[in-house]
């Protein structure tokens, strides 16, 4: 009898100890109890509502200032920003948090396939329940891309695109004008002329050769398919793109070989501001670096050119870009109205501090001039503003493909093989289509 009592006491202690420790661990993070629905939780009326917003922009690049501004204006709804890294591991962390009732009241999605997946998993609130905000009217026609089953499950809050950043001083030294429209042949020619012993003619984000390839297919289908539903990757424009990039890497040596780049992992933005690359093909995120002249001092002016088409005279080319940074509400939050109030404020005025990091608000109610002024505040003289405004605020046809994530990832191995010359451009185009077709087949089951 005494033995049993000892045993029970011991087991009780063992169970109680981890629970007590877990309780201690949770005490510092009261949002779980106060924001996201949690059985048995309760909030006193006098306590402010606490919401958690998950996003991928480093907090020092605007989000912290955004929530600080909100919290000052709204003492009854306090928002905390949690940063996740927008890569596979970071998105897995967010998805795990969403399905395990961790404190996520609102979150930002940057990729359509993840957005769709989260909706299908029941992790994004259908915003049609709120009738006081016309997303199409506010955000323009580009917003419709983010409709699933004709409904919005998130607010696309920023307008972004991929374009070519130029070291204007280097262009001037070679007598090259800032391109306003160009194809890959001109792009290659510029890179070859701008390269020198210690300067790459061009640097570009990893796997960015898919930008001209996908951009040539989007007009016919956002899924990058032919009319019969098969992959459209195997076409002369894909072959040409692979050939030109291959020539830039191995014939002209104006672009760092792709596989060397992915295994050496150079900081491309820093290469650009240090003058180690004359052109940089990337997105508006580079503003974080080019605007930070204290940490990354530079003496040259930055200009911008649109992304190159495959052929200069292509009329059906769609530039990679459009509305993004889609904020959704976790349906399990018990403060849906408060989250919605924050989101409307964020889209229409609150995201202003994000402008310094290059984020252009998409809402028509947003004071765009104010955002642009903030974007270049104190560094106006270091940009060729005409070209930047022409590209960022011009009328380029923009669009985002809906290529499924698995195909995109699997195609990376094919690009690796093409740019290590294991596959010819023709074989590469066929392989890109084969992988795509396999996944299209699997998805249709």
């Amino acid at each position: 009898m005494r033995n049993r009592r000892w045993m029970i006491a011991g087991l009780a202690l063992l169970i109680a100890l981890p629970l007590a420790l877990a309780g201690c661990g949770g005490s510092g993070d009261s949002n779980q109890m106060e924001g996201t629905t949690s059985p048995g939780s309760s909030t006193a009326d006098s306590d402010p509502i606490k919401l958690t917003l998950w996003g991928a922009v480093p907090s020092e690049n605007g989000p912290q200032e955004v929530v600080d501004n909100w919290n000052k204006q709204n003492p009854d709804i306090q928002v905390e920003y949690v940063r996740f890294v927008n890569d596979d591991a970071g998105n897995l962390k967010l998805d795990t948090a969403l399905i395990s009732s961790q404190p996520v009241d609102m979150y930002v999605t940057y990729d359509y396939s993840l957005y769709e997946k989260r909706i299908k998993a029941g992790n994004a609130l259908d915003l049609s329940k709120f009738s006081d905000y016309d997303v199409d009217a506010k955000m323009g026609e580009g917003a419709a891309l983010w409709k699933v089953d004709d409904k919005y499950y998130g607010l696309p809050t920023q307008k972004g695109l991929s374009f070519v950043w130029l070291n204007k001083d280097m262009l001037d030294a070679k007598g090259l004008p800032i391109p306003t429209e160009w194809g890959l042949d001109e792009f290659r020619d510029y890179a070859a002329k701008l390269k020198s012993d210690h300067v790459w003619g061009l640097a570009q984000s990893d796997y960015y050769f898919n930008v001209p390839i996908n951009g040539s297919l989007q007009k016919q289908s956002l899924q990058l398919t032919n009319a019969d539903g098969t992959s459209a990757f195997d076409n002369p424009l894909t072959v040409k793109t692979l050939q030109v990039y291959s020539d830039m890497m191995f014939t002209d040596k104006s672009l760092m070989p792709h596989t060397e780049q992915i295994t050496s992992k150079p900081a491309l933005d820093q290469m650009f501001v240090k003058g180690e690359a004359a052109m940089l093909f990337s997105t508006n995120q580079i503003f974080r670096t080019t605007n930070n002249i204290q940490e990354f001092p530079r003496t040259f002016k930055v200009a911008a050119a649109p992304a190159p088409k495959v052929n200069k005279d292509q009329t059906d080319y769609i530039n990679a870009g459009g509305l993004g940074d889609v904020i959704s509400i976790n349906p399990s939050t018990k403060h849906q109205e408060a989250a919605w109030k924050f989101m409307k404020w964020y889209a229409d005025e609150g995201m202003l501090p994000m402008a310094a990091g290059g984020r252009v608000p998409s809402s028509k109610d947003f004071p765009v001039d104010e955002a642009v002024a903030l974007m270049f505040k104190g560094v106006e003289d270091t940009y060729d503003l005409d070209s930047i405004k022409r590209v960022m605020f011009g009328d380029l046809p923009l669009g985002l493909s809906r290529l499924d994530r698995k195909t995109g990832t699997e195609q990376q191995a094919i690009y690796d093989k093409v740019f290590t010359q294991k596959l010819s451009p023709e074989e590469g185009a066929k392989e890109l289509a084969r992988v795509h077709n396999e996944n299209l087949k699997a998805l249709s089951k």
Partner: protein, 292 residues
């Protein structure tokens, strides 16, 4: 309660925290993944697992990338005997009186207590094709087109094997040093008096005497190699062109890039069976060469 029973109970209480941790964080997930390998389950999809029997295994044998990962996983076993051999030779040298004995021991052991990711990044710099010191040296001795190492599907796996060999030497050396210091000096003295050369001493006396240590290092080395993930993933993520995709990277990509948890579980359990088979083969084979 008798004194013995009380002692037993105290023993259980002491191991309980670890046992609970093992059960919650290892045993339960392992059993769950055992169940998942017979299902088609996409994580965070909002859908429950769907039982599909052995379909995941059928899919696996038809999957080209699985075949590549098996081949690469077999390749990463090669560094194990090489690093054991080198670790043994260095341990023998450092067991004798040499200059800077302690410094050299620390030097060789340093990779073991350094973060694997940090070491991986050092190798990434060393093997950098354009500006790395290894290729700079090769160019200086007349090789105009040195290997691209991690940047080529043809050489990336060799670079991984070199990195893993170097990474294993320090640990093997320390374990051998401990074993060598336990050896009876009388046997070695007797052999020397009988006229044994240094080579004969090594081959016929020292190596057989430390064979239990070699066996231990072989078992743990093979298991560690088959499970290797972090250093390879940090540099190549299994590329370029899947050329360094080993089992664990294959399973990781299926699970955490594509959320295909059922398929990833089937791959992980296959990996477990292969590890078990190799360990059993070694266990049976040890009778022929391990002397206790």
């Amino acid at each position: 309660m008798s004194w013995m029973k009380r002692q037993r109970l105290v023993g259980y209480v002491f191991i309980a925290p670890n046992l609970i941790g093992m059960t919650v964080f290892m045993l339960v997930p392992a059993l769950f993944s055992f169940y998942l390998m017979f299902t088609d389950w996409v994580f965070a999809s909002g859908q429950p697992p769907r039982f599909i029997g052995l379909d995941n295994f059928r899919m696996m044998v038809r999957d080209d990338l699985f075949v590549v990962s098996v081949k690469n996983t077999l390749l990463v076993l090669i560094p194990v005997p090489i690093s054991i051999m080198l670790g043994f030779l260095i341990a023998v040298m450092l067991n004798n009186r040499t200059y800077l004995q302690k410094t050299l021991r620390a030097f060789f052991f340093a990779p073991y207590f350094t973060s694997g990711i940090a070491i991986a990044f050092v190798w990434m710099v060393l093997f950098q094709p354009t500006n790395g010191p290894i290729n700079a040296f090769l160019r200086s001795v007349g090789i105009s087109e040195p290997p691209l190492w991690f940047a080529s599907p043809d050489t990336a796996m060799y670079a991984v094997l070199i990195m893993m060999t170097a990474g294993g030497i320090g640990y093997n050396m320390i374990i051998y040093l401990a074993a060598l210091q336990e050896l009876s000096s009388e046997q070695l003295e007797a052999a020397k008096m009988d006229g044994a050369t240094f080579g004969q001493l090594l081959r016929l006396i020292i190596f057989p005497l430390v064979s239990p240590t070699t066996f231990f290092l072989m078992i743990t080395g093979f298991i560690g190699s088959i499970k290797s993930f972090g250093m390879i993933y940090a540099i190549t993520q299994g590329g370029p062109g899947n050329s360094t995709t080993v089992f664990s990277i294959f399973a990781y990509k299926k699970a955490f890039n594509f959320y295909e948890m059922g398929y990833a579980s089937a791959v992980s359990w296959t990996m477990f069976l292969i590890i078990l088979s190799i360990t059993l083969i070694q266990w049976v084979g040890q009778k022929k060469w391990v002397h206790y």
